[in-house]
Point group: C2
Chain length 567, copies 2
């Protein structure tokens, strides 16, 4: 069973040749010293570390997994040592500010690192994957006292962090959360309640764990506006243990390397982060970065599955391919070739979009021109929900296609491919389910101004479209968006029915844009890029027409669902 | 966690009201005594047994599974007792001939039984699921001596059976099999070789296990025509143990309740079934029944997943649905409603097609009129690969949609939904991968006569189509089929590239036919049938247009792939 090899050359091609990242980064005051050599060096060094240290632990993470006993969680063999090496080498701090102990590098290099890590070992990566959000949250909203004690340790990854949001009855609807925070005379709070689905709530990777917790003050109104954010560490700075305990970890479909914890807060002492009642706001500032991170998991997991399937297909010999004289390797059979090229089309196109979004995060944060920062935020606002949902969906469904390449061997654990499929499934759910992403895109963003802002933004995709096919699709989507906006006035429920179609149509359109970018810069007719480009046009692009037809039909019959009832 | 409840009323509605099964069965000489009461009684009794005895063992089958030790396999707790109750109650022998100890009932009642069993406990059901094929194989091709010793025990299920086909290097391409059979002076053979992926190769459910084994005689030609079929029991009639041993069982993605065995034949004594070199023919006679059986697994597993998702969606309360004043149960949210209604549309339509195919098997075997028998075989020949591939695909992908309804809880084993998804995945692979089914349909069957026979057969679907929408789609597919046949002359590889599109287009067309049948007989406007009918039209039917467009484009550019190479 081969383990994942970080595809450094492919990643560099997308980042530098297709997206021209370095000159754009150099133009930002914060990254004047970034050059092509540095980018290449980070890619190579991270690829080496991930390939040699993290990837080999993936099987044990699944087969042995995290073990709970009496409130303690022991991670899978090798996980702790690997984490120690990771933070001591400075990887968690890649994009943290230098004044906090970080390396001050661009978000886009953190993106390539986390794509590799997720591909190599999704379970292990869950723990450091939460650091970035906790760091930004504390940096922007924490008091000076809290920052002095915690920010540097989180920035460098010496201490790991969690996000304690979900409760048994409060999943997508965090406004239902009941965990209570009671103010104390010394300015601190005591927190009581139960949080579930807490990734890395307890483990032995780091000496301390810092929990960021949504809770409700005694006088808080019901709903999301009554939630505040608190910091509760596992150990206080004086070394005493807090009253936060891991009651159990969940048995799951996959991701066994990451303990999914039920955390009990028993009047645990903590401190508020930011203003009372502004807890969700403090967390949602990080939402684009967090969702991009999950989109990158999707890209990485699909690439890991593809690598395995491709290697198998080049070796396994069964039957004659059409026109062959003897038995062929299965990579030559059209049914297998089609799977491999189609998934390759998703991975490469997705990589363009994910890296471009990471670059826009850098622009939004660091560009000198407010208009450019605004444009960058707009890109992130529209594209992030699309790539989170579309790439995690594809990681699971496309990963399953890669499994199919193995025939019966794909179902057997020994080959490792089925683990990727099981691990990938969770990313369609967490960080906002894919259904929530679709509603975020269409209802909260596109239709918020009747579609005007989004339609204007779509125009910006057509700049490089010399052939005109993309422009035609953009025009069609713009027309449909206007129609949806009108139909939604008569039937406010309509956008909720078609949100999934809308997101998927936009995803295919964005992939078409991405493949135009690749096509303009890839060597002519090289099979490495020509075959997936062709697969995209033949087997992915037609989804756009189908989704458009579904939405057109929905507009024609609005108000929707008037004549039927819930069964 | 609720367990599966056999939906006896729904099944009876499809079987009797929609398909009018009883009068058709009564018209067959073999089933003159079958009446509506008997059908209802079999449905209810089987539903009771499956719901009370088999379904409750499903979780243990997954969590504990089959255990291998020193060549012995211990099944999960409760499995052995349940199997004893099963065969003693006469269930395995439902459709076996009365002269062999069976009940002589129609195949369509075996179909409803196995749909329930697979839904309730896919792992447990694998063992008896192989009986029918072994019985038919031995009955039609075995010598009198073999039948005297083995047929009755297999017919009644007192002994279980296996099909030993696959070898490590011979999966889809059985012609590569190397297991050797050497003739002995007494007319027996000694078999040597290794077979893999043998479901139920070893277990403690029955006192004996009868293996049907593909092997090669010393003078046999290479390839599939060199294969003969042999019978090797675990224990000979005199009680001695044969030299067939289970080396290990596979760790798998799911289906842990069924041991997937590596079987080693060490000069094991056996007997030939049928003629030398005709081994594949002997097995392929059973192919339609075996593939229908897998299609029914797909229907059952999706229904089991749907039941869980529906129950959860009726209880779980999150956020306000559009237009609601307070938090709603998630079944009222369009994104969830759409998932549930769409999967319901698949299940109900699939049930019509699967039961109809089982009825056609009864017609093919028992009808007095040779023309009707021929027509029945034609139905089975065209429809079976479609429903095998389409329903197993949907069981996994639609099952994953049902998992999504649970949000994070769907990923947690406790709720049981993720097991259905893992278990279902294998059915896309075994009994001929879904890619093989697509090639079987388009290349081996439809295009074998230039598409004429299939196009003529398609006309027969339009009889009940008063509205004309189905007829329009049939005409379009007929036109496309003729075009494909012409294009394939210039480019023989073309059908292999589009076989998957073709199968899926036919699947949607058949589902449209099925929903016309339901619509003609379901109570007007009852949400139980109206909602999935609407979901089918809105969200499943559009796939047909997309698949047609993909194939039209492929015909326009044939010869395909001329300009690109394998990467």
């Amino acid at each position: 069973m081969n383990t994942y090899q970080p595809p450094v050359a492919d990643m560099a091609f997308i980042l530098e040749t297709v997206l021209q990242a370095t000159p754009q980064l150099q133009a930002l005051p914060a990254f004047g010293e970034v050059d092509a050599d540095l980018v290449q060096q980070v890619l190579e060094e991270s690829g080496k570390f991930v390939g040699e240290v993290i990837a080999p632990l993936n099987r044990a993470g699944d087969a042995i997994g995290a073990q709970w006993k009496d409130g303690q969680v022991t991670m899978a063999p090798g996980f702790r040592d690997a984490y120690r090496a990771f933070w001591q080498a400075g990887w968690p701090a890649l994009s943290a500010a230098t004044e906090d102990g970080g390396q001050g590098l661009p978000a886009v290099l953190e993106a390539t690192l986390y794509e590799m890590l997720s591909a190599a070992n999704h379970g292990w990566t869950m723990a450091p994957g939460l650091l970035h959000g906790a760091y930004e949250c504390l940096k922007h909203h924490g008091s000076k006292a809290l920052k002095d004690q915690y920010l540097g340790k989180i920035a460098t990854g010496e201490w790991l962090a969690t996000m304690c949001l979900t409760e048994p009855h409060a999943g997508s609807d965090l406004g239902l959360a009941r965990t209570k925070a009671t103010p104390q005379a010394d300015g601190s709070y005591t927190l009581s309640g139960t949080k579930i689905f807490i990734s890395g709530g307890e483990h032995d990777l780091s000496d301390n764990i810092v929990h960021l917790v949504l809770a409700r003050l005694p006088d808080a109104p019901p709903g999301p506006k009554g939630l505040s954010l608190f910091l509760v560490p596992k150990f206080y700075p004086d070394g005493t243990r807090s009253d936060v305990h891991c009651e159990r970890i969940e048995e799951k479909m996959g991701l066994h390397g990451s303990p999914t914890c039920v955390m009990r807060f028993d009047e645990a002492k903590g401190w508020i982060i930011g203003e009372p009642g502004r807890g969700l706001n403090a967390m949602f500032v990080m939402m684009n970065a967090a969702r991009l991170h999950v989109a990158l998991q999707g890209v990485g997991l699909l690439d890991a599955a593809w690598q395995k399937a491709d290697a198998y297909a080049q070796e396994r010999r069964q039957m004659r391919a059409p026109g062959a004289k003897d038995t062929s390797v299965i990579a030559e059979h059209p049914a297998i070739r089609r799977i491999l090229d189609t998934q390759r089309a998703w991975i490469d196109g997705a990589r363009v979009l994910a890296y471009r979004t990471a670059l826009e995060l850098d622009m939004a944060k660091h560009h000198a021109d407010p208009a450019r920062r605004e444009a960058a935020l707009r890109w992130c606002s529209f594209v992030t929900p699309v790539i989170k949902a579309a790439f995690t969906h594809q990681a699971f469904y496309g990963g399953s296609e890669c499994l199919q390449v193995f025939g019966g061997h794909g179902y057997v654990s020994e080959w490792g491919i089925e683990q990727h499929v099981r691990d990938a499934r969770v990313a369609m759910i967490y960080e906002g389910t894919n259904e929530i992403q679709a509603i975020d895109l269409l209802v909260r963003k596109v239709l918020a101004d009747g579609g005007d802002g989004f339609c204007e933004w779509l125009d910006s995709l057509c700049g490089d479209d010399t052939g005109g096919a993309l422009t035609g699709h953009v025009r069609a989507l713009q027309g449909l968006t206007a129609r949806l906006a009108r139909a939604a006035q008569a039937d406010p429920a309509l956008p909720y029915w078609v949100a999934d179609d809308y997101l998927r149509a936009v995803a295919v359109l964005l992939l078409q844009w991405a493949w135009l970018q690749i096509g303009a810069r890839a060597p002519q007719d090289a099979p490495r890029w020509a075959n997936p480009a062709q697969a995209f046009a033949r087997w992915v692009l037609p989804v756009l027409g189908m989704r458009m037809a579904i939405m057109e039909a929905a507009c024609s019959r609005a108000p929707s669902r008037a004549s039927t009832t819930v069964a």
